[in-house]
């Protein structure tokens, strides 16, 4: 009558069925990867924001555009973010200008295309792995739910052989099954939060890049016009 079960966390996992254990393993991997991406994205997006702030300060601080360009070329660290867009645009602008008499519209179109391409690349690098976070956030609850359903199915199947069904017969099975759901939610919640946060950050960066491109092409157009 007296069923005393060891309901400690480890025993629940070790006593779980193979399917549930497999699901737990998958979820653990997903969670580990998503946390890795969360932190690495946090670092890279923070760096991009800081870099953009710094460059905007320099650019609007009255520094000569040619000086700025020379410095980006001679800099030891690889240029990223807004600086990269500036460099690509200005290089294309200089190249087109050197080719002799050309229509201003053509030059500006080429410059803008080059800047657009650099901007796309930068944004792509920033958005890398964000989709992984999104899919972990949306799928891992379902994986966890699957593990739970499977575990509860087993718990109730084992119950069919028992004449007097008590809660003690079902409880450990359900508890071990619910661990899968907990694991899925643990993987999903931070992933969803991070995805929303980071995609918002990347969007804001994209608008900043866009406005910078517009303003910079305006400046270039003014220079060629003079």
């Amino acid at each position: 009558m007296n069923v005393t079960q060891d309901l400690s966390f480890l025993s629940l996992i070790t006593n779980a069925s193979v399917v549930v254990q497999l699901i737990l393993l998958i979820l653990l991997l997903a969670s580990g990867l998503s946390w890795f991406f969360i932190f690495s994205k946090m670092f890279s997006i923070r760096a991009a924001l800081r870099e953009a702030d710094q460059f905007e300060n320099e650019f609007w601080g009255g520094t000569d555009i040619n000086n700025l360009y020379q410095r980006t070329l001679s800099g030891r660290t690889p240029v990223v973010g807004m600086e990269k867009i500036f460099e690509a645009g200005f290089r294309e602008f200089l190249k087109l200008k050197r080719q002799g008499r050309m229509d201003i519209g053509v030059i500006m179109d080429g410059t803008r295309r080059a800047m657009r391409a650099a901007c796309q690349r930068e944004l792509d690098a920033l958005e890398l792995h964000l989709s992984f976070l999104a899919s972990v956030g949306s799928v891992s609850p379902y994986i966890g739910l699957f593990g739970t359903v499977w575990g509860i199915m087993n718990a109730f199947r084992g119950l069919s052989n028992v004449v007097q069904a008590t809660l003690a017969h079902v409880a450990p099975g359900i508890a071990e099954a619910l661990i899968a759901t907990a694991m899925g939610l643990f993987a999903a919640i931070p992933a969803v939060l991070a995805y929303n946060h980071y995609s918002h950050d990347v969007d804001r960066l994209a608008t900043r890049f866009d406005s910078f491109m517009e303003e910079f092409s305006n400046i270039l157009q003014r220079q060629t016009g003079v």
């Binding site: 969360i38 990269k84 294309e92």
Partner: protein
């Protein structure tokens, strides 16, 4: 234009370390959290114990019985045995052979004197021995008397304890019988007697109860021979759920499996 080189994500090591840290923290929370929950489940057991304080009152009475018995037994036995054995033997026998061997004709007088002295000494020794024996006998008697009185006390105590225990058992048995009687009469109210019951056959049921008195399961362990009556009683037991359990938690604990006997004419 050169395609941008694969850029290195900044702080890769940090990201890995932090991710591992987060998971370790999660595991720790889970492990300790679930342990905490199992400890929280323990009070369910403690509640059962809470209702017991009525019962412990008889338990300590029975416990002290064995304690006095071992303390009294060792005292009387070791004392009388060692004293009488070693003293008389060595003192009387050793001097005789040693001094007879040395005896010479010239020293006969001296020997006689010595013999006299020896005799006197022996007499003294014998007197002493007699006194000692008397003393020891008295002591032994006293010890025996003490032991006897202690045994009597013990027997009295055991008798009273046995009487108490018997009274408890009897009280419990009476309580059990009363409770079973109450349950049977409670069930009998629900029996719908079938029409064709011949004689007074006895049907025996094994009933499994929940602690609340609700009927979990009923098993016919001995049929009365009349299936209609058997079924009627079984239905009645199910209908009578919850059965009236005794209030005493110690007694109620025994009412998980019952054998109930029913006769048509009671």
């Amino acid at each position: 234009m050169t395609p941008p080189a694969e850029r290195k994500e900044p702080g890769r090591k940090w990201a890995v370390m932090l991710a591992v840290l987060v998971h370790l923290m999660f595991a720790a929370v889970l492990v300790f959290g679930v342990n905490w929950q199992t400890r929280e489940a323990a009070p369910v057991i403690a509640e059962l114990w809470n209702s017991l304080p009525l019962a412990p009152a008889p338990a300590p009475k029975a416990a002290p019985e064995p304690k006095p018995a071992p303390a009294e037994e060792p005292k009387p036995e070791p004392k009388p045995v060692p004293k009488p054995v070693p003293k008389p033997e060595p003192k009387v026998e050793q001097p005789k052979p040693a001094k007879v061997d040395i005896a010479l004709k010239e020293k006969e007088k001296k020997r006689k004197e010595e013999e006299r002295k020896q005799a006197e000494a022996e007499k003294k020794l014998k007197d002493q021995l007699k006194e000692q024996e008397l003393k020891e006998q008295r002591e032994m008697l006293a010890d025996e008397q003490a032991a006897l009185s202690k045994q009597r006390d013990e027997a009295r105590r055991q008798k009273t304890a046995a009487a108490q225990a018997a009274a408890q058992v009897a009280a419990q048995a009476r309580g059990m019988a009363e409770a079973i009687g109450r349950i049977r009469s409670h069930v009998r109210r629900f029996v719908v007697m079938p029409a064709d019951v011949a004689g007074n056959p006895e049907a025996e049921f094994e009933v499994f109860l929940l602690p609340t008195g609700e009927v979990l399961n009923v098993r016919l362990s001995r049929s009365s021979g009349n299936t209609a009556y058997d079924n009627a009683v079984e239905r009645a037991i199910h209908k009578a759920s919850p059965l009236p359990l005794p209030v005493d938690p110690l007694l109620a604990g025994r009412f998980r499996e019952l054998t109930l006997k029913f006769r048509p004419n009671e």
